[in-house]
């Protein structure tokens, strides 16, 4: 039986960060709890935060379940995480700048050339280009899990367009409305500085040709996209336009928005669409979402694109193994956050080990996301394991494996009262003129008892994440 670290209870004792919640939890009558839960749901629905799940069809207006029990970090715990995350975000950006330039890390033999240059996410079209301030990934989402009081692991990095930050902000907003006394009694670091920080970050990477205050916009695939709510939410908070491909056009070396007063020059695009759909002239010729000529404008310094096209090569699961190496190579520091040990099925020995130990491991597709195409060995049937064995044997390059981590639990409201459920954490690191991180992040919780899969597409929920002030 695996021992899971419970973030609130150490045996019968309440751990210090949760002191302020113990009484609250015990004194809340169940009717009040039900009422508050319904109130929270109504608020979410009213605001319109919903999340459509890919491939599941059904109600596009479905809500992600919100758990009212906050997840808490102390100031020292957080400071340690913060340093580690910033370090990682800097290293990932240094790596991107390098591999689209001279590729020193490859020349030095620290990362195999094949892994970088033959990677599908390596974008030849941007090689040789130095984006403003040399930054490729402006918003780095680092997925973390905890296995003990001082033990954190990085599960994966998200260098393209990590989503979910609107939940971090809205969860807090709703908790403050429903339980103001909790915020009076506990000193909790605010997260609402995020939108200003994001705006500053984006403005700080305005292109070379931009004079004066840069115009920023968010580029969305459109209102049918499952994350559309988040796009419009962020645009609104930052006070910038939310644009779709057809709202933009390229002319004279600049990118323009179609407005009621005629064309308006756009300087920084925070894009929430994939590289492949940015510019039909450069990438997929059949893309209806893209803006013809955008890459030419980008490369000639007429507009900035955040994150930069090609940033995906840094968050590839095969590259992930080498992030600690990047920290040492570029920053000359020892990594503050640990990677989960990872077996590459592309390597013969690794693959053999993985196939022999499938029932113990978590196996993931190299390019997969959202918890799809994933095997959790200890939680799977013999049949599922055998099915997966065939998939790996057919295409070993496509898989990596990791030990099943003993994810920490935090108290969560369930049908019967309060019970421990497994959680992870995604903080959002902003990289621009400064590298910054708001104190908090998105805590995802696996609501099903015993489940280790926290993805919202697989029955996961979200929690407010607190960092206590000193």
């Amino acid at each position: 039986m695996t021992e899971y670290f419970n973030e609130m209870f150490d045996g019968g004792k309440v751990r210090q960060p949760y002191n302020g919640l113990d009484g609250w939890m015990r004194e809340m009558p169940s009717e009040l709890r039900a009422m508050k839960q319904a109130e929270a749901e109504a608020l979410f629905r009213r605001i319109g935060i919903t999340f459509a799940v890919y491939g599941e069809g059904g109600d596009p207006d479905r809500l992600i379940p919100f758990d009212m029990f906050p997840r808490v970090f102390t100031q020292p715990e957080w400071r340690k995480l913060e340093r580690g995350i910033k370090q990682r975000a800097r290293a990932l950006n240094a790596f991107l700048l390098d591999v689209y330039g001279r590729g020193e890390i490859v020349r030095a033999g620290r990362i195999p050339a094949r892994l970088v240059y033959q990677n599908d996410a390596y974008e030849r079209a941007v090689s040789g280009f130095i984006p403003p301030r040399g930054i490729y990934s402006h918003i780095v989402g680092v997925d973390l899990v905890r296995t003990g009081p001082d033990q954190f692991y990085v599960l994966e990095d998200n260098c393209r367009t990590p989503s979910g930050v609107s939940y971090m902000l809205e969860n807090r907003e709703i908790m403050m409305r429903m339980f103001p006394q909790l915020f009076r009694e506990n000193r909790i670091e605010p997260v609402d500085g995020y939108s200003d920080a994001l705006r500053r970050t984006l403005a700080s990477v305005a292109p070379t040709k931009c004079e004066g205050e840069p115009t920023v916009a968010i580029l969305t695939p459109g209102h049918f996209n499952s994350a559309y709510y988040e796009h419009s939410f962020l645009a609104d908070l930052m006070g910038v336009e939310l644009v779709e491909g057809p709202d933009l056009f390229c002319e004279g070396g600049f990118c323009w928005m179609r407005t009621t007063e005629g064309p308006k020059k756009l300087d920084v695009i925070y894009r929430r669409i994939d590289d492949a759909f940015l510019d039909p002239l450069c990438f997929r010729p059949d893309s209806m979402l893209g803006i013809p000529g955008l890459m030419d404008v980008y490369r000639s310094g007429g507009v900035s694109i955040c994150s930069a096209p090609g940033a995906g090569v840094a968050d590839d699961k095969a590259i992930y193994t080498f992030v600690p190496e990047m920290v040492r190579f570029y920053l000359g520091e020892e990594p503050l956050l640990e990677n989960v040990p990872t077996w590459q099925c592309a390597k013969k020995d690794d693959c053999k080990y993985v196939l022999e130990n499938l029932s113990e491991l978590v196996v993931k597709e190299v390019h997969g996301s959202g918890g799809y195409g994933m095997l959790v060995g200890p939680k799977s049937t013999k049949e599922q394991i055998e099915n997966f064995r065939h998939k790996i044997e057919d295409n070993p390059e496509n898989y990596i494996a990791q030990p099943t981590l003993a994810l920490s639990t935090t108290p969560t409201f369930v049908e019967e009262g309060v019970a421990p459920r497994h959680v992870d954490l995604r903080p959002y690191c902003l990289v621009g003129e400064k590298v910054e991180l708001v104190p908090g992040g998105l805590t995802r919780v696996a609501l099903t008892e015993g489940s280790l899969v926290v993805n919202s597409s697989q029955g996961g929920g979200v929690k407010d994440t607190w960092v206590l002030a000193e």
């Binding site: 033959q118 079209a125 090689s127 390229c250 002239l281 490369r299 000639s300």
Partner: protein
């Protein structure tokens, strides 16, 4: 050799169209084999956009035309002095790692026949340079030059199966087989000056380049069974014809498009 180029590409439409956007890769590469005396690219009624040199060393320039568009006419005029470098792309500045040219694309997809041809051609050859020459010869052999036998979307595999094609098919097939034996390879577009005794190839031309460790990129033209010399002007490269295309463009609207091209290459008598 001093070559003059006069190249006009016209797209016209049977109905007025929306805006047109072009990305042009029509500037001679900078390397020891060629030196630009003068060169001018213009789009009639168009607005010049941004211009830059990409990681592969190609100069790219964006253009756009405001609606309504009836016709897009792109004119290239220039004079280049060329030298024979035996196909070696010496002195060319680029940043892209050769290994980035091992990727397959739709047009250069490797099927069993291409793989078999590649294996047979290099059997027994150990040196990369030798292997590259053998691959080029094998492609010249396997695909006969025949205009009109293929179209712009024909893949390397299809051309090989058919056994005939034009320079685009030769170049696609060459880069496909080279990658098949782990030699980085790319598609190159440019011009070819056909001398009087030469076969009547079109002046707009395409060939392949193979990376040979220790030497660098070397051009091979299976269509003419040679390596590029002073009769060639190199413009740009890519994984396949689409990526290396001198003109990439989109014109909005549903009108029928007609393409008309004239290329004149002349040698300046000295």
């Amino acid at each position: 050799m001093i070559l003059t180029v006069n190249h006009v590409t016209t797209y016209d439409y049977d109905a007025p169209m929306g805006a047109a956007v072009q990305s042009l890769r029509m500037f001679p590469s900078r390397f020891e084999g060629q030196r630009v005396i003068e060169w001018d690219v213009s789009v009639e009624g168009g607005l010049r956009g941004g211009s830059f040199r990409d990681g592969a060393g190609d100069r790219v320039e964006g253009w756009s035309i405001r609606p309504p568009v009836d016709e897009v006419a792109i004119t290239v005029k220039g004079q280049v002095e060329t030298f024979d470098t035996s196909g070696v792309l010496r002195g060319h500045r680029e940043l892209v790692h050769p290994m980035a040219y091992l990727r397959e694309t739709v047009a250069t997809w490797i099927d069993d026949s291409l793989a078999a041809l590649a294996e047979e051609a290099v059997a027994g050859a150990t040196e990369d340079l030798n292997r590259a020459h053998r691959l080029s010869a094998a492609i010249s052999e396997a695909i006969a030059y025949k205009p009109g036998a293929t179209h712009s979307h024909t893949t390397a595999a299809e051309a090989l199966a058919q056994g005939e094609g034009v320079c685009q098919d030769h170049a696609h097939a060459l880069v496909a087989v080279a990658r098949c034996v782990d030699l980085p390879a790319r598609y190159v577009s440019g011009y070819l000056f056909a001398t009087d005794d030469g076969t009547p190839h079109e002046a707009a031309h395409a060939w392949g380049e193979i990376w040979v460790a220790g030497i660098g990129w070397i051009g091979f033209d299976p269509a003419n069974k040679c390596c590029p010399d002073e009769r060639y002007i190199r413009l740009g490269s890519g994984l396949d014809a689409r990526e290396a295309a001198p003109i990439r463009g989109i014109t909005q609207g549903s009108g029928e498009e007609r393409l008309h091209v004239t290329v004149a290459l002349d040698q300046v008598q000295q």
